[in-house]
């Protein structure tokens, strides 16, 4: 098997890279060992959200250009501002081709509402998510109804309403809570393992229940103009279902990201995979890469769990295997390593330096900033310290940024994935 580009890791970074490569005619495969971080994401793409003091960043691209890129070590510094802009546009266009239109507020961040009713700055969101169109409600004192599906245990409207009421952005609104109920689905609750966001999304996917649901929403929302629902308004047929539900209720319906599984994230995951396949990419699911052979600074081949002794060869490779949760990085008693190629990592050797004293420490946790060290074109170093020229590292495996404290996980994943694709395309053509 010979590829132009073989990508290890099928998350948002690997898929962005893969789609760019196949769209330029490269033979490209993606090896994925399981569900990616998209399945527990907010489904919005954060570019840059917070200053170091947790103050909100309003113009992320401007902030990145002025303050992050000159810093030098941040993955954004390696991409450069043009590549970031290009990558984000490419990502938006890709999803749009799959019918998933993303909202953005020109060069500004907008704010989406979380399960806890906190308001988070983000750059790209699905149109069903709270965004600046809520401003229409500012004109007159409007009502927002936050509703739950009765029996759904992963959302409590009261907790969200409490924090939302305290937020100055929403001070002009009257916020109420309520429940919608469909007796038909009572029995689903009997199995304690069911009735997660996915189960409800499937109910919404079937159009025949929509009029009943719409009726319930209208009745439960006490004349509100805006309705907040946990994000489960359909998965396979989302765009159409959302449109129909808006028409049937005559209200502005917003989706609030839930506990995992994230339906909002899964829609993006589905769209990206669908686009990759449509362009002729080969997505190999459920396989784990065990290792590979690096000879004179070139990764010759890799081998995997399912392919046994078969050597998978490619001109270029991408390692977008994520951070600890996705096993892109592995930690032991006093050591952090990259498990596939044993690449050089940036991490403290003293375990007590990996974390902060309190869980919600403002400075966050150092371990989130550990990862594989690369040069300016995202190529890592092998055990001997030699640069591996045909291997690129992208996304959460990279060090020197904190996706949560900075609010930049999605942006880094997309930009670095796109940047690697450009380098690979360049390499294949030369």
């Amino acid at each position: 098997m010979n590829y132009d580009c073989l990508i290890i890791g099928g998350g948002i970074s690997g898929l962005t890279c893969g789609i760019k490569c196949v769209s330029e005619g490269l033979r490209c495969g993606i090896l994925s060992s399981g569900m990616s971080a998209l399945h527990f994401s907010s489904g919005s793409i954060d570019l840059y959200g917070y200053h170091t003091n947790r103050k909100i960043v309003y113009q992320p691209l401007d902030y990145i250009e002025r303050l992050i890129i000159p810093e030098g070590r941040h993955p954004y510094s390696k991409c450069g501002i043009d590549m970031i802009r290009e990558g984000i546009s490419f990502f938006s266009e890709t999803l749009e081709k799959e019918g998933l239109v993303l909202y953005h507020n020109n060069d500004y961040n907008h704010f989406h509402v979380s399960t806890m009713g906190t308001v988070k700055p983000t750059y790209l969101s699905q149109r069903s998510v709270f965004n600046d169109s809520i401003k229409e409600g500012f004109k007159k004192r409007s009502k927002i109804a936050i509703l739950n599906f009765s029996g759904f245990r992963d959302f409590y409207p009261e907790l969200a309403a409490e924090n939302l009421r305290k937020n100055s952005l929403f001070s002009l609104f009257d916020i109420i809570t309520g429940e919608i109920e469909l007796p038909l689905f009572r029995r689903t609750e009997k199995n304690p393992h069911e009735f997660r966001s996915m189960d409800i999304a499937r109910i919404f996917d079937s159009e025949k229940y929509l009029p009943g649901i719409a009726n319930q929403i209208v009745n439960a929302s006490g004349g509100a103009l805006f309705v907040g629902l946990p994000a489960f308004i359909g998965i396979n047929n989302f765009t159409r279902i959302y449109q129909r539900l808006s028409e049937l209720t005559g209200m502005l319906i917003y989706e609030i990201p839930t506990l995992p599984p994230s339906i909002l994230g899964m829609r993006i995951d589905d769209a990206l995979k669908s686009r990759f396949a449509a362009l002729g990419g080969e997505f190999i699911a459920g396989d784990t890469v065990n290792g590979g052979e690096i000879v004179n600074g070139v990764l010759d081949h890799i081998h995997t769990e399912n392919h046994g002794s078969t050597r998978l060869r490619s001109k270029f490779f991408v390692l977008s295997s994520g951070s600890f949760f996705s096993r892109g990085l592995v930690s032991e008693f006093n050591m952090i390593r990259e498990p596939v190629f044993n690449l050089k990592v940036a991490a403290s050797e003293d375990r007590r330096e990996w974390y902060s004293p309190s869980f919600f420490q403002k400075e966050s946790h150092p371990f989130l900033e550990y990862g594989v060290v690369t040069n300016n074109t995202l190529n890592p170093e092998d055990t001997q310290g030699a640069t591996v020229e045909n291997l690129f590292c992208t996304g959460a495996i990279l060090p020197h940024y904190n996706p949560i404290r900075e609010g930049c996980g999605g942006g880094v994943a997309i930009s670095t994935g796109y940047f690697a694709a450009k380098k690979i395309i360049e390499g294949c053509r030369s």
Partner: protein, 543 residues
């Protein structure tokens, strides 16, 4: 200011305090318990949960050994749902002094502890995960005991009979009239309110914190706090308590408990002023894991879930500050006799195993002072949940259609009280904590009946958040249920969710590597990345 009048006031809601409350209530003595945190939140809940047979003490401390075996037999009857009769083994490793084996057998015989020698083959058949290189084994009637359930059942029995309890309340000062203690001044941290309790006798059952309480009474009692650390292994890797057959030392026991196994215990002297900010040290973790692995080789391949520590309340009875005369035994001080301070009693020392005996001794003294004739009955009357032999699981399943996994877990935690919880109600089908199989119905029961003030308390009553994920999904759901079942307002629920995750973090930090670090990244991603919980403004500092 609120004012309460009673006969006896007990300070401290550990096993001893809870046991004393129950004993006094059963004797018809009007009693109130005040606890600064939660039931079983101090030393009671910070040990390995071993139901001692007494064998561990048999060689060196005959008195403790005989107390243990007597209480062991009582608890197996009155606290069935808190106890698991797993049995225990004492195994000799090749590096251990082989003569200890014989000494232990002889001492057990002398103390009246049934101890039987097993062939190594028999021992391995009983506990297949055991190190196959053991030289000899002795079987003893060790078991496991859940300290949270035990203390809570004692409180429940008492409150159902008229006893009262106030948790999350500080004792600010003792009320004295002349030289005698007449009551306590308290502050309720949940309600943000002062109140006063007056009574004839104040019992200081505050364990290691008893030194401070004595100070408030103007008498001196010196504690020698000793820290003991343990690690929790994810998965129950043994079904029988495994002891190392040697002179007691660090890392010589692995106790199975519920869904996990616990490796115990270290022993480090600490200063009294350190007891509020205990941390498990790295060298303790290394010793526990290394020695645990010698007993059960699986240890090195299993995920470590948490590390925690408690303080042994050792008392210096002579007042000698050098601490030569430290007792591990039970210390009951009548301050009227010792210090001419009337109406004040301290019960200290001892161990979880002897909590009932300590309560009995204390209640005897209180009864004598109040001239109440009624004798102790705590050794006869079963705790709530342990009334009868437990009903087979199938019967409950047939009635409700609730899956066996849920029924079994609820039965295991609440004994006979399962009938108050698992009714044919849709709430009971909604699983809140998947790791420990806790339903919304069980949470409602705990919130309404078991003195639960926050999610940390709820964990002690139901095991919510104690499994492999350490509260990843269930803690948010629990916060929501506090509001749904009207046990808290949304604002307090937000704060208690944050507090709960911080509390879980304390036990995860020391073992943050491997899967624990992965899990932490995921939890942090959800609660900070997705929810922004850390950005929610702090409360008004009430709690």
């Amino acid at each position: 200011m609120n004012y309460i009048e009673t006969q006896a006031i007990i300070i401290g809601g550990g096993a001893t305090g809870a046991g004393t409350l129950r004993d006094l209530t059963l004797r018809g003595i009007n009693s109130v318990l005040i606890e600064k945190n939660d039931i079983a939140s101090g030393t009671t809940g910070r040990n390995h949960g071993l139901l001692h047979s007494g064998a561990r003490y048999a060689v060196k401390d005959l008195e403790s050994a005989t107390e243990c075996i007597a209480e062991n037999r009582i608890l197996k009857k009155i606290a069935r749902h808190c106890v698991e009769d797993t049995g225990g083994l004492f195994v000799t490793l090749p590096e251990d002094d082989p003569s200890y084996h014989g000494k232990l057998l002889a001492s057990c015989k002398f103390a009246g502890i049934p101890a039987h020698e097993l062939s190594t083959k028999e021992a391995l058949a009983l506990e297949p995960n055991l190190n196959p290189d053991i030289l000899s084994a002795i079987r003893v009637p060790d078991g496991t005991i859940d300290p949270f359930r035990l203390a809570s059942a004692n409180v429940l029995d008492s409150t159902e009979r008229g006893g009262r309890i106030f948790t999350h309340c500080d004792v600010k000062s003792l009320i004295k009239e002349g030289s005698a203690v007449k009551g306590v001044q308290c502050y309720d941290r949940v309600k943000g309110m002062d109140f006063e309790i007056r009574g004839d006798i104040v019992v200081n059952a505050a364990g290691v914190w008893g030194q401070h309480i004595c100070g408030l009474a103007g008498v001196e009692l010196k504690m020698f706090p000793s820290k003991g650390s343990m690690v929790i292994i994810d998965y129950r890797i043994n079904n029988i308590v495994v002891n190392r057959c040697r002179v007691p030392a660090d890392g010589d026991i692995i106790v199975p408990g519920d869904t996990v196994s616990i490796i115990g215990t270290t022993s480090k002297k600490i200063e009294y002023n350190e007891i509020e900010r205990l941390i498990v040290d790295d060298d303790e973790i290394e010793v526990l894991l290394a020695d645990g692995e010698k007993l059960i080789p699986h240890v090195s391949k299993t995920r470590v879930l948490r590390a925690y520590c408690g303080v042994r309340p050792l008392v210096d009875i002579s007042g000698d500050i050098k601490g030569r005369d430290i007792s591990r035994g039970i210390v009951l001080v009548d301050h009227e006799e010792r210090d001419s301070t009337g109406g004040f009693i301290t019960i200290a020392g001892g161990k979880l195993m002897t909590y009932r005996l300590m309560a009995e001794m204390t209640a005897n003294l209180v009864a004598k002072k109040l001239k109440v004739k009624k004798k102790c009955s705590t050794h006869r009357i079963p705790l709530p949940g342990s009334e009868k032999k437990i009903q087979p699981m199938k019967q409950i399943k047939k009635f409700t259609g609730i899956p066996g996994s849920v029924t079994g877990s609820t039965l295991y935690r609440h004994g006979q009280r399962v009938h108050n919880i698992l009714t044919k109600d849709r709430k009971n089908y909604g699983l809140i904590c998947e790791c420990e199989m806790v339903t919304a119905g069980e949470i409602e029961y705990a919130l309404k009946n078991l003195n639960v003030k926050d999610i940390v308390d709820l964990r002690r009553r139901t095991r919510i958040g104690m499994g492999p994920c350490q509260g990843e999904l269930c803690s948010y759901r629990a916060a929501g249920l506090f509001v749904e079942f009207e046990a808290a307002g949304a604002k307090d629920a937000n704060i208690m969710l944050k507090d709960f995750l911080e509390e879980r973090w304390k036990g995860i930090k020391p073992i943050l590597w491997g899967d624990s670090l992965r899990e932490t990244e995921f939890t942090y991603w959800i609660y900070q990345g997705l929810f922004g919980l850390g950005d929610i403004p702090e409360g008004d500092g009430k709690k």
